[in-house]
């Protein structure tokens, strides 16, 4: 989840308009953001759309809100000037972190809030969209301290510089081993024996991508006016998109965008590649699935408010938008933009007229039938979690392999139960309260591995407890159940370790073993501190289903 800290003063300055808390909350919901809380000038805003990294800054939020509020429409204005500056990419680096792009933004007007927002924007993009800096990492630097051209190349791990926030030189190796950002992102570089650096023509190290900036060139403060941005990573399209978002944000802070030349061994590109994207859409399809009648003019107007330009030619809708977003894939994406602009709550929900027959699944009908028989016999239905404690599971398990979780949330729930009895015993050991006589059942899922195959089953567990219990108390319930289901069964001797010797059996239907019946061994109960005599049975319903003459 991406949650931003936003200065409301700055936001309202960019909007040229103040909003009440209710208005802000409502409008934010309409751009897929949610106002979590307001604390004075600071608001916490959750951005729910992971494809819109431009919204990770108050400038992006303002840009989108301006459209919704009809303050400013169509493609945002922008201009990119050429510069003579170059960023030279060394051949060697292509195996480690192959891509880098950059830009210069001059005359940016920063203040505390804006600086905070800029840093937050970089962090959120590299975290979520950049997959924790693996694919995208962003650096912003003081342009005035840099001597161009700048070089992006590999350096020996013992190369030293003063990293941001430190007062002495550290080697690249020391940074990875001993500093917080180093440790956090070391996994990106661990397998290499040389690391990427960005260095200027005076041999000053600008940064150690994607780990940390230098303390001098890479440190911005509220007086910094001219900023050099680099975005490095493994995916050229992604880093170009991130760069577009950053330069636009800085432009909205009053800056002027300048391109630089990025010189790769085999090609030369000019970045940022911020430009207008033009797409042709099938207007008939849009109108068909839009659900509301809109004339062409209205469609164009609604798209304008989503910061797009649009026009209609020969049944084609031609849309133009700026490439700070890349989430327009098909007509449905345009339909959503129009509907949002129109206002979801202005739409009239349509009563659906598809006549289909509603029906429970066959499995559910059988489950419900068995539950009904058990309740009619005076049993109380319990419902326990499917995940259970592995040690309790092991007490019961014999020939099944217990399914264990790699990442359990708690040791109480670190495996899947092999029997419903595991969950029942776990419940009773956690809360030792029963009223005599107790007739209890559960029909629920179990799972285990047998012969290297995952088995998912539905089991029925019946438990009887009283001052005095016998296997007959279970047997009579079992007999009634099978009589109601019109299925024949027989019981054969068994030797389950969790049941008392000589007072237990396996239940067979059509020569297939479908479960156990017996008295629970007090040695097992003692281990779980359970103080009730118990008898019961557990049968596989999936097995039983084959024989149920079902016609409900």
């Amino acid at each position: 989840m991406v949650v931003l800290d936003v200065s409301l003063n700055e936001l309202y300055k960019l909007l040229n308009k103040k909003l009440s808390e209710e208005e802000l909350s409502e409008y934010l919901l309409n751009i897929k953001c949610e106002l979590d809380e307001i604390n004075g000038n600071n608001a916490k805003i959750e951005v729910k759309d992971f494809n819109r990294i431009d919204l990770y800054s108050l400038t992006g939020i303002a840009r989108e809100l301006k459209g919704i509020l009809n303050i400013e429409n169509g493609i945002p204005k922008f201009e990119i000037k050429d510069s003579p500056y170059s960023l030279i990419v060394d051949k060697e680096i292509s195996n480690v972190r192959p891509y880098i792009v950059g830009a210069i933004v001059k005359n940016v007007k920063l203040n505390e809030d804006r600086l905070k927002d800029l840093i937050q924007l970089q962090e959120k993009i590299s975290q979520s969209f950049g997959r924790n800096r693996q694919k995208v990492a962003i650096g912003t630097h003081n342009f005035d301290l840099i001597e161009f051209p700048v070089y992006y190349k590999l350096a020996d791990p013992e190369t030293k510089f003063i990293p941001l926030g430190f007062d002495k030189e550290l080697s690249l190796r020391e940074i990875l081993e001993n500093t917080e950002p180093g440790k956090k992102y070391a996994n990106i570089l661990n397998k290499y024996n040389k690391y990427p650096i960005l260095i200027d023509s005076n041999n000053n190290i600008i940064s150690f991508p994607p780990i940390i900036n230098s303390n001098k060139i890479g440190k911005l403060d509220i007086n910094t006016k001219n900023i050099f941005i680099d975005v490095s990573g493994t995916d050229l399209e992604k880093i170009l998109l991130a760069l577009n978002v950053i330069v636009l944000a800085l432009k909205d802070f009053g800056g002027e965008i300048y391109s630089i030349n990025v010189i790769y061994p085999d090609k030369k590109i000019k970045t940022p590649e911020l430009k207008i994207i033009k797409k042709e859409m099938d207007l008939n399809k849009i109108k068909k699935y839009l659900g509301i009648e809109l004339d062409d003019k209205k469609i164009v107007e609604y798209l304008n408010r989503k910061r797009m330009n649009a026009k209609i030619e020969n049944n084609k809708l031609i849309i133009e938008y700026l490439n700070y977003r890349d989430d327009i894939l098909s007509e449905y994406d345009i339909i959503e933009e129009i509907l949002i602009s129109y206002g979801y709550n202005n739409l009239k929900p349509r009563e659906i007229k598809i006549y289909t027959k509603g029906e429970l699944s066959k499995e559910r009908k059988i489950i419900n039938n068995i539950r009904k028989i058990m309740v009619n016999m005076g049993c109380i239905e319990i419902y326990t979690p499917i995940l259970s404690n592995k040690d309790i599971n092991s007490l019961l398990n014999e020939d099944r392999e217990i399914i264990e979780l790699i990442n359990p949330a708690s040791s109480s729930y670190n495996s899947i139960r092999v029997y419903l009895l595991s969950s029942f015993l776990q419940l009773l050991s956690e809360n030792n309260e029963l009223k005599f006589p107790a007739k209890i059942f559960e029909l629920n899922r179990v799972s285990y591995i047998k012969n290297n195959k995952i088995i998912e089953d539905l089991d029925l567990l019946y438990i009887y407890s009283n001052y005095e219990v016998s296997v007959n108390d279970s047997l009579k319930v079992l007999k009634r159940l099978f009589k109601e289901l019109e299925i024949d069964f027989d019981i054969r001797n068994s030797n389950h370790k969790f049941l008392i010797d000589g007072r237990q059996g396996d239940i067979f239907v059509n020569n297939e073993n479908i479960g156990w019946i017996g008295e629970i061994d007090p040695n097992i109960l003692e281990k779980l501190d359970i103080k009730y005599p118990l008898t019961g049975f557990e049968i596989s319903i999936k097995e039983l289903m084959k024989y149920i003459k079902y016609d409900i």
Binding site: V2, K48, F50, E336, I386, I403, N407, E456
Partner: protein, 466 residues
């Protein structure tokens, strides 16, 4: 009029006070029954009843332990007798602090030991007092005065009863053979009721209510929702599994494999230790999904796709249902999903989701809003509904649904959307499919009036029985 048991009790009482124990022993009837009967007899004015409160001393659990194993000073003395001298520090291992402090003091005062340079040294054997614990008398109380937790004082009530003149009168005239006591089959067969009267009961007597068979209230709630969906023409999906592949849970739903967990909650999933891979998908669909993933997200790892996991959202089963769904078709499912979370009153790692899809030509977003409205009325029992734009990787357009609940005001009840074309293409479906999901656990807590989401699962069997 007196009952049989009242007669029995009355008949052994005389002019001298008899206590409850004596009466109970003489009649061989449990004390509580005798006491209850004495109460009735007193109410009827047939006996005199008097209570006497007495103080009584009993050993506590610790006291009983000392009686069996010896007092700590005895154990300490025995140890010293054997070893002659022991470091104080070492003794801390064998005795708790209070026991040790008392025992050292006691033994030293009585000249059995001395303490020098942190060492405890044995001098001679002395008497310790465990034998006085066998029968607690005044002497015992004196000896153990000031030692806490060995003897406890209890108050006991002793009841005495004697018959009075009215009682004697009733007793004289009581003829048990004139009444039918138990209503038996024999009474019917031999027509005994023709000649005798039934002895009247006190039918206001306080007894426990009968046990009842009962559905689990939470499952009953889910059953009710299922009924609503059936009446809306939805068919229950039948392709649910707890353990599914990453492919079904995430990949086939247009979710990039490398998206960081934590961003999208459905990616906070549980993975399985013993079985790494599971191939529960058709090969051609797998190829289609691979193509889509490579086209839009550029990477696709077949091994990640085959990883076995616990289902983290029921949309995975909606996707499975697409494989051979009918058109037009309406399908729903309420089943368990699993997500890694910190367990507290608001979060549990297993919960049920209500999930549905509608397939037909020409469906639009407005039809989806129509279904959502119907659901909110029938399932959430709310009249007002609001819609806001939302983001789900697998739908476009997407919507978040808020309903005005009679008790809670506006609450978020679910999310919905039109399945993305890019996703449907993988299943060779070229018409719209509407998809929605509602959180039913939240509604269940409101319906069942509970504050802790963990209580949807049974935590106390006795509570269900009562």
């Amino acid at each position: 009029m007196i009952s049989e048991i009242e007669y029995k009790v009355l008949s052994i009482l005389n002019d001298n006070w008899k206590n409850l124990d004596e009466i109970s022993n003489e009649l061989n009837i449990e004390k509580y029954k005798v006491l209850r009967t004495l109460g009735f007899l007193k109410e009827k004015g047939l006996i005199e009843l008097r209570e006497e409160k007495i103080k009584k001393y009993e050993l506590t659990e610790l006291g009983k332990k000392y009686l069996k194993e010896g007092l700590p000073e005895r154990r300490l003395l025995n140890l010293l007798k054997e070893r002659k001298e022991i470091n104080l520090e070492e003794l801390n291992k064998y005795f708790n602090k209070d026991e040790l402090a008392f025992s050292l003091g006691f033994l030293r005062k009585n000249g059995a030991i001395k303490i020098e340079n942190g060492k405890v040294i044995y001098i001679k054997e002395i008497e310790t007092y465990e034998k006085y614990l066998e029968n607690i008398n005044e002497n015992t109380i004196k000896l153990f005065k000031g030692r806490k937790g060995i003897i406890e004082e209890k108050e006991e009530t002793i009841y005495y009863a004697k018959i009075n003149e009215k009682g004697k009168e009733i007793l004289k005239n009581y003829k048990p053979e004139e009444y039918i006591e138990k209503y038996t089959k024999e009474v019917i067969d031999k027509k005994i009721y023709k000649n005798k009267k039934f002895r009247p009961y006190d039918i206001r007597i306080n007894i426990e209510e009968e046990n009842i068979g009962r559905y689990n209230p939470y499952l009953e709630f889910l059953d009710k929702i299922r009924e609503e969906l059936i009446s809306m023409g939805f068919k229950e999906m039948d392709k649910y599994n707890m353990i599914i592949s990453h492919f079904w849970d995430l990949d086939c739903l247009f979710i990039p494999q490398d998206h960081p967990a934590g961003d999208i909650s459905i990616m906070d999933a549980f993975y399985i230790k013993n079985i790494q891979y599971i191939e529960d998908f058709p090969k051609d669909l797998f190829e289609n999904v691979k193509k889509t993933q490579l086209k839009y997200f550029k990477t696709f790892d077949e091994n990640i796709s085959k990883r076995a996991m616990l289902i983290s959202h029921d949309t995975a089963i909606s996707a499975r249902t697409l494989l051979n769904a009918e058109k037009p078709g309406k399908y729903f499912l309420i089943e368990k999903v699993f997500r890694y979370d910190t367990i507290d009153a608001k979060h549990f790692i297993e919960f049920n989701q209500l999930e549905g899809i509608v397939l037909d030509d020409n469906l639009t977003f407005l039809d989806l809003l129509g279904i959502l409205k119907e659901l909110v009325v029938n399932v959430v029992k709310a009249k007002n509904i609001k819609f806001y734009p939302a983001y789900f990787p697998f739908t476009e357009p997407s919507v978040e649904v808020y309903a005005e609940h009679p008790k809670l005001g506006w609450i978020e009840v679910g999310g919905a959307g039109v399945f993305r074309e890019e996703l449907l293409k993988q299943f060779n479906i070229n018409y719209p499919v509407l998809a929605w999901g509602l959180g039913v656990d939240r509604l269940a807590t409101i319906y069942l009036n509970i504050n802790d989401i963990r209580e949807l699962h049974t935590r106390n069997i006795k509570k269900l029985q009562e």
